[in-house]
Assembly symmetry: C2
Homo-oligomer: 369 residues x 2
């Protein structure tokens, strides 16, 4: 199957920001760069812009493909393009790689100006709030005073929501998909095992690429991205060789899948970025500043909300999305909620599902540009 991007060839861009940025950790970052892409055209009023925020391992290449590499299609291409739910005929779409990322924005692989060497593990820990501050600078640079909408799935949905709290005047709609208002102890526990896999890898300790640790972290991640039902449908107890081999090579197909996903990821993703993305997830908790009262935290938002969850998502279950909805309802804020039947667990937000896409498209049709 050849994927055809909706929008055609696109180009990655970079912006440098020289003013220093004070992070929540207390570290002062002396300027930074953001890699980003844009699709569609910003209107004269600058009022038709949508910010797409990425999840754990995402980046700025949201849609389209690169002219010199047609197979490199953006991670959310199925929802962005002419006539697609994030319609580039109406909207100016912005995707970026977050601070601390490993796709071109300032992060662990960047040179630390204080030492002239790559930051590596000394790169500061960044939070969702820090990302929003950095994204706000990009918005300034692009001439966007107010986003028509912020949108994202999972960790991306947390950013879409945080925008409404941190810069209430700068966002009219927030689309918060497959997200949660904060991680549960179990969510943190999974992140911690993934981090320990990397941190305890002797290669990491020795300053080398922790391929083993990254591989384990990704294998574990994949279990939480899929649903039990989906794994049952996709693999069940199917054997690679049709019989037991009584050894530790691949026997069940699900083992093969996990090893493949782990190996693929470990070959390219930056471990220091991975560690930081999971910490940003752990820390995210906008209600904390209001004594744990999510409604109080969201009360300052002026945006309208679209919240969506997926029936088989057990990483951030529908109940977690309903916490957000209930807080907004309590405040009599404007919120639309869709609980979508889907086989694909947490990954559903990335999938091309007609009902899901129709719901997003319908909501965005009502967003004025």
């Amino acid at each position: 199957m050849t994927k055809v991007s909706g929008i055609g060839a696109v180009e990655a861009k970079r912006e440098r920001f020289d003013e220093s940025l004070r992070l929540r950790s207390g570290v002062e970052l002396a300027g930074f760069e953001l890699a980003y892409e844009t699709y569609g055209t910003l209107n004269a009023a600058g009022s038709n812009a949508i910010l797409v925020c990425h999840a754990l391992s995402g980046h700025h290449h949201v849609a389209g493909h690169y002219a010199d590499n047609p197979k490199n299609v953006g991670w959310w291409d199925n929802i962005v393009g002419p006539g697609r739910p994030l319609d580039t005929d109406r909207f100016f779409i912005v995707g970026l790689n977050n601070l601390g990322g490993c796709h071109g924005s300032t992060g662990p692989a960047s040179v630390n100006p204080a030492t002239g060497k790559p930051w590596g593990r000394d790169f500061p820990i960044v939070t969702v709030e820090d990302w929003i501050d950095a994204q706000a600078r990009l918005a300034d640079r692009l001439g966007i005073d107010q986003w028509a909408a912020t949108i994202g799935g999972s960790l991306g949905g947390m950013q879409a929501m945080q925008w409404t709290i941190q810069y209430p005047e700068r966002v009219r709609h927030a689309l918060v998909i497959a997200a949660a208002p904060r991680l549960s102890a179990e969510n943190i526990a999974f992140n911690e095992v993934a981090r320990q896999a990397i941190l305890s890898d002797p290669d990491y300790e020795a300053g080398r690429r922790p391929v083993r640790g990254l591989r384990l972290a990704r294998m574990l991640g994949h279990i939480t991205y899929l649903s039990d039902d989906q794994m049952a449908d996709k693999f069940g107890r199917r054997l690679r060789h049709g019989e037991f081999r009584y050894g530790f090579d691949v026997e069940f197909e699900v083992e093969s899948y996990l090893r493949y996903q782990g190996d693929k990821f470990a070959g390219w993703f930056d471990a220091d970025t991975y560690l930081r993305m999971t910490k940003a997830l752990d820390y995210f908790d906008p209600a904390a500043a209001c004594g744990g009262d999510l409604a109080a935290a969201l009360a300052q938002a002026k945006a309208k909300f679209f919240v969506a969850s997926f029936s088989t998502d057990w990483r951030f279950s529908p109940a977690r999305s309903r916490e957000i909805v209930n807080a907004l309802v309590k405040n009599r804020q404007d919120v639309a909620y869709a609980e979508i039947e889907s086989q694909h667990g947490h990954d559903s937000f990335l999938m091309e599902d007609a009902h899901y896409h129709a719901v997003v498209a319908a909501y965005l049709k009502g967003v004025k540009t």
Copy 2:
């Protein structure tokens, strides 16, 4: 809190079996030893014996304490003893360490007679069926033709059930607790990540103790043993230092708990045993021999069944226990089923819960000796 064992001081015993045992893997084991303990008195007819089967990291020290180490109380002491549900005034209780274990029975740490050196990673993979065969030899040796009951939780419950299929004449009651008729793809996936943590640990590759891998495997295991609710109650998002430290040391209490559990386990458990226990779980699937028809597989059983599950167990959810119950009901076999409300997830089967223990006690009161 000082734990007081119900039955007092007990002693571990060993039996050697010189006749070779052909394993399901095809390997012929030239004799083996089993470590075991017994509590109570076998009656003259040999008709009051109960076999307690252990789970992943369990062993033969089920109840009581050792005279020279009063703190070493058996892992299921709360349910075994005079007047307890597994009443040692009525029953003769047998607990053993399974073949391949690391608590005294023949396993990876034992000497391979063919080489004169410890088996280590060359120890064959053992299955639940192999364990039942070995347990049957122990029963022969102890003068037990027929168990009054076999009982166990989790992987132990699988053994309790497998007895009724493999030796239908030799068991009158099977108590199958917090178990499943086979692992799901997701269950296998978790086992596979744990195995890969061990197998890819450079210390394991180099023939040393894979402390890091065992630690990760156990941390991951603990997430699946607890329930999301229980983790929320026990840890929530509570911080170790009351504030974020923006580093990779322990920040959330749940991280501290997992690291502690991982470190403790990695200090003593045998990696080659751990690898084999997870494979025994993966392989277990009595229905497979009947084309996936569990009812057909159980039709040969002559035992009466007691099946119990726990509301918050997501490793082997109540739905998995109901698969067993439904198969037995389809066959019009005798089965009692209890779905017990509990906070403690999969670990509930080990907990002292008044309702749970009352249900087990009531069932066992009806078991003739």
